[in-house]
């Protein structure tokens, strides 16, 4: 906890943290604006990617989930790999990692707190997205009892609850990316190398997931699980893909973290 507290102090003192958050916050705002303007100009088909995004054009309450449909494919993984790699390799770049490690702290604790800091960073980012989307969506379209993908309408409370669940689910998926970036950061002293490596892996997984030829791989790719939260927005809720997704995320995260710890534990710090 002592270490994690320092990680947060550090994150809040860095300008780049705010740039990332601002980028995330911009998405729901721009999206709401785009949908709002196109609906006023009577272009009913210009509603973006469809599905939840279309539903959100009538109800600000659905704007947060519409925003993560857009974010989860690129910007979120990007920020997750940046922060995950920077947490460790960035400290190697500035040399501060040696200042840390010359104290009476365990390397396992350092890895865990770096990871925890990155996770909290991403969580804050997601919270900002949700908040921004609620405010913007609410102003533009009002907050009503939401209509689900399957056509039923549920209460506002139920809608908020489903939104929270889907955000937590996406967070769990993004944590895989954070852990991946952290693992790569244990191999290199360049945060850019680690971030790009992690992003490449995510993109390759996405490509593999996009071709039916590789369908046999799909159950094992965490990237193919990220969209499973959308099943929460049909009644009755199909829990199975969500539960399976959580299990896959947990296995990836545990495996990657363990590997990162294993590499870092005996790593020679030569910066």
């Amino acid at each position: 906890m002592r270490l994690l507290h320092r990680e947060l102090t550090k994150l809040f003192a860095q300008r780049r943290s705010y740039v990332g958050w601002a980028g995330l916050l911009a998405v729901p705002l721009l999206m709401t604006l785009a949908i709002y303007l196109s609906s006023r100009n009577h272009h009913p088909h210009d509603n973006g990617p469809g599905g939840l995004v279309t539903l959100a054009s009538h109800n600000g309450l659905l704007m947060p989930v519409a925003a993560i449909v857009l974010l989860s494919s690129f910007l979120l993984p990007l920020l997750a790999s940046m922060v995950g790699s920077y947490q460790l390799a960035g400290e190697a770049e500035t040399g501060t990692i040696k200042t840390w490690l010359m104290h009476s702290i365990s390397r396992g604790g350092v890895i865990l707190s770096k990871w925890g800091g990155a996770v909290i960073y991403v969580a804050i980012g997601l919270a900002l997205v949700a908040a921004g989307a609620f405010v913007a969506g609410g102003l533009a379209f009002g907050l009503h009892a939401p209509t689900l993908l399957s056509g039923q309408t549920v209460s506002v409370g139920q809608g908020l609850w489903l939104t929270l669940l889907s955000y937590l689910y996406v967070l769990a998926g993004v944590i895989c990316v954070v852990s991946l970036a952290l693992l790569f950061a244990t191999f290199t002293n360049s945060s850019l190398t680690a971030a790009i490596s992690a992003l490449v892996v995510v993109i390759v997984m996405n490509i593999l997931g996009a071709f039916s030829y590789f369908n046999f791989l799909k159950p094992y790719l965490f990237t193919s699980r990220v969209d499973a939260w959308q099943s929460l927005f049909s009644q009755p809720i199909a829990w199975s893909p969500v539960v399976k997704g959580i299990i896959v995320f947990a296995i990836y995260t545990a495996g990657l973290l363990l590997a990162a710890w294993y590499v870092f534990r005996r790593k020679d710090i030569l910066v």
């Binding site: 002592r2 320092r6 200042t99 490690l101 104290h103 005996r266 020679d268």
Partner: protein, 336 residues
């Protein structure tokens, strides 16, 4: 080659019994990176209250040794010991007693000095604001305490590194080339600071490639070269004997043989074109007489001590064929 290191090595059990306790010892510490041997069975010991100079040319293995002592890298074999805590085995316990920096002190440039110390200084346990102010005062950064470290000059960062080293009042302070890159005034300030630390009873392990620095500041020193200890002992005994002379003759090769026969091969080292001979005053006369008798033309006989330690140091670390024997004589003298 390792004989010298072994002989100068770790605290002999009998020696450890008397005198101040050993704060830092390395035991046959060895580190190889792929094919290169950076540190080669390096053993030394530092006692409480010592200002210990860790002296050697660049690339001798000083920083690698320090990294092993503070657990940043893992030795290939051997270990370090800080107040009975072995590194790397009991690294966390050992690091509780160590403050210092390796190479260049590293901080967060976007935070003030005070904030950096608050963040990093308290990793070993809570510290009070008063202590932060105190160490900033000691290193003379009080006025700039709230400026961003990114705006600091190299010298100020170096001083902040020392402040950070002191913050937990550690038993052992390890400073890696603390004066490197500083202007003369900055060097003087840092050396003064180190001397004050010593005066207050803190044990300091100071690495340096500057002999005069070690001479000015330290009471004991080890000279290392190619990863092993060449000489270890009190700084006063690192000097060549006062009557050392530099001899230049028409035939240095034969002259060396003649002189070696007279004073012993260990007393002659080659320093560029000169032979540096440790001899008592009386024997210089005899030496010249013998050289002349051997029909070797004597061009110059210069008192060597005026040349200072630099030449001696170069002689030790460059002429590897004599340094081993030299180490034996010097350490023999030191441990007596």
């Amino acid at each position: 080659m390792n004989t010298s290191a072994t002989m100068s090595g770790g605290p002999p059990a009998s020696a450890a019994a008397d005198g101040p306790p050993v704060v830092l010892a390395t035991h046959e510490l060895t580190k190889s990176f792929r094919s290169t041997l950076a540190v080669d069975h390096l053993s030394l010991s530092v006692r409480r209250g010592d200002i210990f100079g860790f002296l050697g040319p660049n690339g001798a293995g000083k920083t690698t040794t320090i990294r092993m002592i503070v657990g940043l890298i893992y030795p290939t074999s051997g270990y370090a010991e800080v107040l009975d805590h072995q590194v790397p085995r009991d690294k966390r316990e050992a690091l509780r007693h160590i403050g210092g920096f390796v190479e260049v002190p590293a901080f967060y440039g976007n935070m003030s000095a005070r904030r950096n110390l608050r963040l990093l200084g308290s990793l070993n346990g809570e510290i009070e604001e008063a202590r932060i102010a105190e160490v900033l005062d000691i290193v003379g950064l009080r006025e700039r305490a709230d400026s961003k470290v990114g705006d600091y000059s190299h010298g100020m960062k170096q001083r902040l590194g020392i402040a950070n080293a002191l913050i937990n009042e550690p038993e052992l302070v390890i400073l890696d080339e603390p004066t490197s890159g500083l202007d003369p005034q900055g060097m003087k300030d840092v050396r003064e600071l180190v001397r004050e630390l010593g005066a207050h009873g803190t044990t300091v392990f100071l690495s340096s490639h500057l002999l005069n620095e070690v001479e000015q500041v330290c009471n004991r020193a080890a000279i290392i070269d190619k990863g092993h200890v060449v000489v270890e002992g009190p700084v006063s005994e690192l000097h060549p004997a006062h009557a050392a002379v530099k001899v230049l003759t028409s035939d240095q090769g034969r002259a060396r043989q003649v002189i070696a026969a007279l004073v012993g091969a260990q007393q002659v080292i080659v320093d560029e074109e000169y032979l540096v001979v440790e001899a008592s005053d009386g024997s210089v006369r005899e030496l010249v007489k013998q050289l002349v008798a051997a029909e070797i033309g004597v061009d110059a006989v210069i008192p060597a001590h005026e040349q200072g330690l630099e030449d001696y140091f170069l002689g030790l670390t460059q002429s590897s064929d004599v340094d081993a024997s030299r180490a034996r004589s010097a350490t023999g003298g030191a441990s007596r």
